[in-house]
């Protein structure tokens, strides 16, 4: 039985699975149900001046009949009075003292506003604070959420203000709606953040109805951009976590968020540098009980690998993530088709023929049976055939010797520089 406890910048929780600040953490009732179900922590739905929400607010993107491949919302922060939320936080914390409750906060970019709310929530016993600099809709139009989060100076300044008053750890939640997330992450660190969390939702329009021509979702025939999340955003979130994790100037723990639907996703985020993860869409899709499999799956994974606790995986893949210029140009793989396993759907052939390097031939054997073969000398090892292949084990990507010593682009350029220099000398 592996130890699943985490300590994220001083915030302790019995497992790394937190519910992200969102509709599932809107009330004491929900959070208590979540803790009963096994969640290790919650980030309470963003507190601030209660707002008025619209109807409807959610939309799902489906793919090939798969519901909720992506998810989109135009809901805002809490619509309940601060006093009610604080009372419920207090009661919940009393009932579940060992679970983490983090208050998500959003106020106007004013020092006194931050001081005021930080003091109020810490008074009811939260374990930490998460500054919401990410919400892309509604609040942003009032200068809050991602409107603040897109301006590094504002991130730094507001983090600083929050830290001035805070006694508990401060996590800064970042928006992905920005060119380079490390810039705002660094700003948060300069402001004194104890940790960062990412990503908040991505600006999105879930769809357009082909019959009514309304946006999806729409509010009485009008739509606005919402925040995108769910399985579809995972690669984007993972990249942002990785970029921050490998940046030496961002030396604070990361809480990973974005499309995490199961324990495997969580392990990926943790390998790539997240100390813990936050989950929302998967819980909205299936209910709180999904955490059972997350905990069990993670535990079994660690046990099978003989890893006693999560420190054995956190950040272990960060050093493998680098820049294109550091990749070995002489590393070579080629596709090899296992004719025993191949079912002859020919998807690899047509993918290669139409859109890659035309190196998979459709042939017939002596008995007239069709089979496929890769001309390895022409294969660039792009992976497309193995990606489109519907059968496990039918196409292997096999490493082949290139006959050259490893060399990266950066090495090549500096070597060329050395070679070219004498030339210049000769010219003199």
């Amino acid at each position: 039985m592996a130890d699943l406890n985490i300590d994220l910048a001083g915030i302790k929780s019995p497992n790394p699975f937190w519910l992200a600040s969102a509709p599932p953490t809107n009330s004491g009732y929900q959070v208590q149900r979540a803790f009963e179900a096994g969640w290790g922590g919650v980030v309470w739905k963003t507190l601030g001046d209660p707002i008025i929400n619209v109807s409807s607010r959610f939309a799902a993107v489906s793919f090939n009949g798969q519901r909720v491949a992506g998810f989109n919302n135009i809901e805002l922060i809490t619509d309940r009075p601060l006093e009610v939320n604080l009372k419920e936080i207090y009661e919940t914390k009393k009932r579940f003292p060992n679970h983490a409750i983090i208050a998500s906060l959003m106020v106007e970019p004013k020092q006194e506003k931050w001081h005021e709310i930080v003091k109020k929530v810490e008074a009811v016993g939260v374990d930490g604070l998460e500054l919401n600099f990410g919400c892309p809709h509604g609040m942003a139009e009032r200068g809050m959420g991602s409107a603040s989060g897109q301006v590094p100076e504002l991130v730094e300044k507001q983090t600083y203000w929050a830290k001035e008053a805070a006694k508990t750890p401060v996590i800064v939640k970042l928006t992905p709606n920005i060119t380079d997330i490390t810039v705002t992450a660094e700003a948060a660190v300069r402001g004194g953040a104890d940790a960062i969390s990412m990503i908040n939702t991505i600006n999105s329009l879930a769809g357009v109805d082909l019959d009514t021509w309304n946006t999806i979702p729409h509010v009485g025939g009008k739509g606005a951009h919402g925040g995108y999340c769910g399985p579809a955003v995972k690669p984007i979130a993972l990249n942002m976590v990785a970029e921050c994790a490998r940046n030496p100037r961002i030396n604070v723990p990361i809480s990973g968020i974005g499309g995490i639907s199961n324990w495997k996703d969580a392990v990926e985020f943790m390998l790539m540098g997240a100390t813990g993860v936050q989950i929302c869409t998967a819980a909205m899709h299936h209910g709180f009980r999904i955490v059972e499999d997350m905990i069990e799956g993670l535990n079994n994974y660690l046990d099978e690998k003989g890893i006693p606790d999560l420190s054995g995986i956190i950040g272990k893949s960060v050093s493998k993530y680098s820049d294109w210029g550091n990749l070995d140009l002489n590393y070579q793989v080629v596709a090899r088709i296992n004719t025993e396993t191949c079912i002859n759907c020919n998807k690899c052939h047509i993918a290669c023929e139409d859109t890659s390097h035309q190196c998979i031939d459709m042939l017939k054997d002596g008995d007239g049976n069709a089979y496929l073969k890769v001309r390895e000398e022409d294969c660039v090892g792009c992976n497309l055939c193995s990606i489109v292949c519907p059968v496990d084990g039918a196409i292997d990507m096999v490493e082949v010797p290139s006959g050259h010593a490893p060399m990266t682009w950066n090495q090549r350029q500096s070597a060329l520089g050395v070679l070219e220099k004498p030339k210049a000398d000769v010219a003199k």
Binding site: N64, G65, I343, C345, K347, I350, P390, V391
Partner: protein, 455 residues
């Protein structure tokens, strides 16, 4: 209605028993199933379909919600594609060839085809537009799958097409010969209307050889397609065949599709002679008309039976009994009505000319079964008279054709469908008939275009 309910035979309301047994896919099911299709390149399912429907293409169109395009893809390759989605032995054809047989489960191609064509039927869509006339005329004798298919293709090529149909309605086998609970008449009628909408004239109740002569057709039209199918079931050649209660299986099925359903079979015992698909139809119709016991008597064994496996399974589900190696010797009557059938037990002897083991009676093994009705389903007769009327070369009642062009000994006459179906040539399937009709039409067009070009 749930699947369990549909399986139960109602004795109160027989008409319920003749409603389509298999329910169509729901929208959700169709979406999920169509999303499962791999969209193979050079797909084996296409090759396994006698009409070469672009199956991955029509399935992809279902997945994307392009149902008009899907139905059109199906029907352009197969003018009776809606019927075929219900009656094709898909596990032997498209679904049998599906590459997913090797990894998971084959795609339900038949059901998806039905889903797309049902959409077109329910939404009353015309899938094809009338073409500009090319000034040539073609006659088609018979409006079954082969004739309809030929007429449709000819019409699309610009021919003025007239179909001559002896029956009251067009559609042939699909209209009259396939049990309603598998293929309701409205499906066949929709396919007929798709062809009609291209300007094809269908003269029903018009028998070639009686109402119009072959010579007249040959003189009035540039080409003739002979697609008259098969005739009635031959006699058993035993005593008692003219008793009341002896039926021709073809007629028997036809009656369930064209006349008010009779309740005279309720509680009766029925013997069906033969074990082909028509025999199964006769047997299952009897069950659904309320018969208390239905036996199929076959003089060979299950291994020689020509009925499809799924038909056999279906009959067993309906409670039909199978008596192998059993041949009828005479039908026994009482007051002019069937009261029993005397059978003899058979055993398989050496192989006959057709390569099948010949059944031989076991002497002294005669026994009598008490029955109230006997349904004959031992094959079908040929339209010999019609073939003679056209003066075509034939072998054993089967018109001789060029296997690629379907041209007969008369260069103006092309023939397709069951009328050219013989041992060792083609298969007696709706889908092959449709393909032959298409190919015959294309051959005519090639031939006549050549002639025009040479003038």
């Amino acid at each position: 209605m749930t699947a369990v309910e549909t399986k139960r035979i109602s004795l109160k309301d027989i008409s319920l028993n003749f409603e389509e047994v298999e329910k169509g896919l729901t929208n959700r099911e169709a979406l999920e199933e169509s999303s499962r299709c791999l969209y193979c390149y050079d797909a084996p399912c296409i090759k396994a379909c006698p009409t070469g429907i672009d199956i991955p293409g029509f399935i992809k169109r279902i997945a994307s919600g392009n149902l008009f395009g899907s139905a059109k893809t199906i029907m352009s390759s197969n003018p009776v594609g809606a019927s075929c989605s219900r009656v094709c032995p898909t596990e032997e054809l498209c679904e049998g060839a599906c590459v997913l047989n090797h990894s998971t489960k084959p795609i339900m191609i038949g059901n998806l085809q039905r889903y797309a064509t049902d959409w077109a039927i329910e939404n009353n869509r015309l899938l094809f537009n009338k073409t500009v006339s090319n000034g040539k005329k073609a006659a088609v004798v018979g409006s079954g799958p082969a004739g309809l298919s030929a007429a449709r293709e000819l019409a699309l090529c610009g021919y003025d097409v007239t179909i001559y149909e002896a029956a009251a309605h067009a559609g042939g086998l699909n209209t009259y010969g396939i049990v309603s609970f598998r293929l309701p008449q409205r499906i066949s009628f929709w396919e007929v209307n798709q062809v009609k909408s291209l300007g094809v004239e269908i003269k029903t109740n018009t028998k070639v050889g009686a109402d119009i002569s072959a010579a007249e057709l040959l003189s009035k039209y540039d080409a003739v397609v002979l697609a008259a199918g098969m005739a009635s079931v031959p006699n058993l050649g035993i005593e008692g065949e003219d008793l009341e209660g002896v039926y021709d299986a073809i007629e028997f099925v036809k009656n369930t599709k064209t006349k008010p359903l009779t309740d005279e079979f309720k509680g009766k015992k029925v013997a069906v002679i033969g074990a082909g698909n028509t025999a199964i139809d006769g047997a299952t119709c009897s069950v659904r008309l309320g018969a208390s016991n239905v036996k199929i008597l076959y003089r060979r064994t299950i291994d020689e039976m020509t009925a499809y496996d799924f038909e056999y399974e279906f009959a067993k589900q309906d409670g039909v009994e199978f008596r192998w190696l059993t041949a009828p010797k005479r039908i026994i009557g009482k007051d002019g009505k069937v009261s029993g059938i005397e059978c003899v037990q058979m055993e398989l002897g050496p192989e006959g000319e057709d390569g099948r083991k010949r059944p031989v009676p076991i002497e002294g093994s005669e026994f009598i079964l008490e029955v109230d009705a006997v349904i004959k389903a031992i094959g079908q007769k040929r339209h010999k008279g019609l073939i003679e009327e056209f003066g075509l070369e034939e072998v054993g009642g089967v018109v001789v054709v060029n296997s690629e062009t379907y041209q007969t000994s008369n260069e103006k006459v092309f023939s397709c469908g069951d009328i050219i179906f013989g041992k060792g040539f083609g298969e007696a399937m709706v889908v092959t008939a449709a393909q032959q009709g298409k190919l015959a039409a294309h051959a005519i067009h090639r031939e006549l275009s050549k002639k025009t070009a040479s003038i």
